[in-house]
């Protein structure tokens, strides 16, 4: 009889997040069972009540760090993981909850809770890479299922995953989309946003809203000029960069630049 080959052990971890990126694993309806044949699902709380102890060969980490305990927990996860891959905008950039980084957290607490003293949280939401070394990241809010499969496949084949950091514009050209920015004057973050989604928004007559975060070499200054030319006000430009990847450095810089432009116009200090 043939010995059962060693299957690498997979763990899936959740930090501050909406669960959508780990749901992408369960959304692999055609591949899930085959995948489970190649990789042992050792620790995936959302999907299984059977949890095996570490160490793990591959850890997928969803969510951002927003509490002291989570800052400690991610170090424990790293210590038990041979390869650690962050999945989604929360894990790679801090997520929508990183909007607190631009605000006063005590005021946020008071705004939402009658008893703010019960609420324990950090003043910032930060990506996993700010806390531990990360071997690879999958962008997106949510991640792309095909990039997830490519990453897991590459891991099993011991090669580097092919997840290019080119812009959404490239995907639009490939898909044959008409450029919504040039043809219709619709504000679109495609030129500065990393590919991976398949250029869905422009295919639905909508400008890209940047949910995959900044591409490899984004020309943010030129993007800002274009958005203003299309009639967006400085607060609108600031908001457009302050969504799911607000904490990504290039988008944060763009949003801060937009604020300075507004302040200058209004004569603020």
């Amino acid at each position: 009889m043939l010995a059962t080959p060693h299957r690498p052990r997979l763990a899936v971890w959740k930090f501050a997040s909406c669960d959508g990126c780990q749901l992408s694993i369960l959304d692999l309806e055609d591949e899930l069972l085959a995948l489970a044949g190649r990789i042992e699902i050792a620790n995936f709380r959302e999907a299984s009540s059977a949890v095996l102890d570490g160490p793990y060969d591959l850890s997928l980490v969803e969510g951002s760090i927003t509490t002291r305990e989570d800052a400690k927990r991610i170090r424990e996860v790293r210590a038990q993981s041979k390869v650690l891959v962050t999945i989604g905008a929360c894990a790679t950039a801090g997520g929508i909850q990183a909007l607190r980084n631009f605000a006063n957290i005590d005021e946020f607490r008071r705004a939402v809770y009658a008893r703010p003293e019960y609420i324990e949280t950090l003043a910032t939401s930060t990506p996993i890479a700010d806390h531990v070394p990360v071997d690879h990241e999958l962008r997106g809010c949510p991640i792309s299922k095909s990039q997830l499969l490519e990453m897991v496949g590459a891991f099993l084949q011991e090669r580097a995953p092919n997840t290019p950091n080119e812009s959404v514009c490239i995907e639009c050209k490939r898909r044959g989309n008409v450029c919504v920015l040039v043809a219709r004057g619709t504000p679109c973050l495609g030129p500065v946003t990393q590919a991976g989604c398949g250029a869905i928004c422009p295919a639905f007559s909508r400008g890209c809203y940047g949910c995959f975060g900044p591409q490899g070499s984004p020309n943010v200054a030129s993007m800002l000029t274009e958005l203003h030319r299309l009639g967006m006000t400085a607060p609108e430009v600031r908001r457009v960069f302050r969504t799911f990847n607000a904490g990504a450095p290039a988008f944060r810089t763009a949003s801060e630049f937009a604020v300075e432009a507004t302040d200058a116009k209004e004569g603020a200090p």
Binding site: C18, R45, A111, V112, C201, S205, R239
Partner: protein, 431 residues
């Protein structure tokens, strides 16, 4: 005097992070605490200062399992604030998108999260070894829901095609028509699912729930209706906050919602079905009849059957909409200029139950205040009541068996902890 403590540190097969503590003293249940330790994300705080047009995309991120529910409740609330009416095919397309989410979310729960409990297995992968045809059926059904969301919404998680007033782009008749064979197959799979789960060995219990859901004049409720309860409440959605309130409890992490002057209540499939079974389509009604469930189901374990019946309904409703579809001339109703401060509220039926949103807008159309009440925060107190009863019935059990029984009791209600904790984390209560 003997004291036992049952502690589950991390609930499995629920969305989000939760834990449970039960304290038993001298054969009496002293305390039940469903703790939610999902970190707070402060949606209601950072929505302030955002344009009303941004609410659907931002609130979708509260939950990756039911983003359409958040998109729908926020769109309807904004349209209420702006006194807009969205009718005709755009309204039908919204219903269709919601059907996709119901199929996907319910099927995920029935097959991947709930079913393993009834068969004594830890997850669907192990389940696939003993019941490969069941798991394949579940995955195919779930895929049909996801595919519908992809075609109409752009993608299944956090769809990009929803906006205040309607959609960015309406599908062509051919694009939607191409979904028909898959949805017809799905309808058959959903009916098989009802037959399959009706045969499961379910525990025989009954809880005295106050059911709360939307009720619509002639539809099974998704996007619209009055708020009704099994104890005679009947109010427009605009009066929601006069009947229900959120209280912050020091022991748990999410806000609890209660009936003002009353106690816990239940939203979700059991409530919708009890209050609206006469509005189901013919195939769903026939499936419920064949499964032998009564018009009011008080057994939380039987929610697995009711969820499956609702999937039959979502499939037949989707097919009805497909067959009558004509592409609207414009994909959305343009919102009017905003010049005055406004308030809008709406409730829609997320897979897990009624989802209420209220927004106050400033004269420039920026959000000044947001309030979001998720289904699981409404059910949390009721789930604790269920747990108390489970423990009372099972005091003779040893620790692992009792723990298991408690975890199952929680999973009956498909709690989504990411939703219910849109914001909150509690520090440990000290006594």
């Amino acid at each position: 005097m003997t004291e036992r403590t049952i502690a589950v540190d991390y609930l499995a097969r629920v969305e989000g992070e939760g834990a449970l503590t039960v304290r038993i003293q001298d054969q009496r249940v002293e305390d039940v605490k469903l703790r939610i330790f999902e970190p707070p994300r402060f949606f209601e705080a950072f929505l302030r200062g955002r344009s009303y047009l941004e609410a659907p995309d931002i609130t979708a991120r509260i939950c990756g399992i039911c983003p359409v529910a958040y998109q729908m409740s926020s769109c309807h609330a904004m349209e209420h604030a702006l006194e807009m009416r969205v009718d005709g095919m755009i309204r039908e397309l919204r219903r269709l998108l919601y059907c996709g989410e119901w199929i996907e979310s319910h099927t995920l729960h029935v097959y991947l999260l709930h079913l393993p409990d009834f068969l004594g297995l830890p997850d669907a992968v192990r389940l696939a070894k003993d019941h490969p045809e069941a798991v394949r059926r579940g995955l195919a059904l779930k895929k049909a829901g996801n595919h519908l969301m992809q075609v109409l919404g752009g993608r299944e998680i956090h769809p990009i095609n929803v906006r205040v007033g309607g959609f960015y782009r309406c599908p062509t008749v051919d694009e939607l028509g191409a979904l028909r064979p898959e949805l017809e197959t799905a309808l058959g799979l959903a009916e098989e699912t009802v037959r399959f789960v009706a045969k499961l060995p379910l525990p025989d219990v009954a809880e005295d729930y106050e059911f709360v859901s939307l009720r619509h004049e002639h539809e099974y409720p998704l996007n619209e209706g009055e708020i009704v309860s099994s104890r005679g409440l009947r109010i427009p959605v605009t009066d929601y906050e006069s009947a229900f309130e959120e209280v912050q409890v020091p022991h748990s992490t999410a806000l609890h919602s209660v009936r003002k002057g009353g106690g816990s209540y239940l939203v979700g499939p059991l409530a919708r079905y009890a209050l609206n079974h006469d509005r189901l389509g013919p195939r769903a009604r026939a499936a419920a009849k064949e499964a032998g469930i009564s018009d009011v189901v008080r057994n939380p374990a039987q929610s697995v059957v009711v969820r499956a019946v609702e999937v039959v309904y979502a499939c037949e409703e989707a097919l009805r909409i497909l067959d009558a579809y004509e592409r609207p001339a414009e994909p959305f109703v343009p919102p009017p200029e905003t010049r005055t401060a406004r308030v809008g509220m709406a409730a829609t039926e997320a897979p897990r139950g009624t989802l209420y949103h209220r927004y106050r807008l400033d004269p420039g159309g920026l959000i000044a205040e947001a309030k979001i009440v998720a289904p699981t925060s409404q059910n949390q107190r009721r789930i604790e009541d269920d747990l108390r009863h489970v423990v009372e019935r099972s005091l003779a059990m040893d620790e692992p068996a009792l723990t298991d029984a408690c975890e199952r009791a929680i999973r009956h209600h498909d709690p989504c902890i990411s939703c219910s904790t849109h914001f909150l984390r509690l520090t440990v209560e000290r006594s």
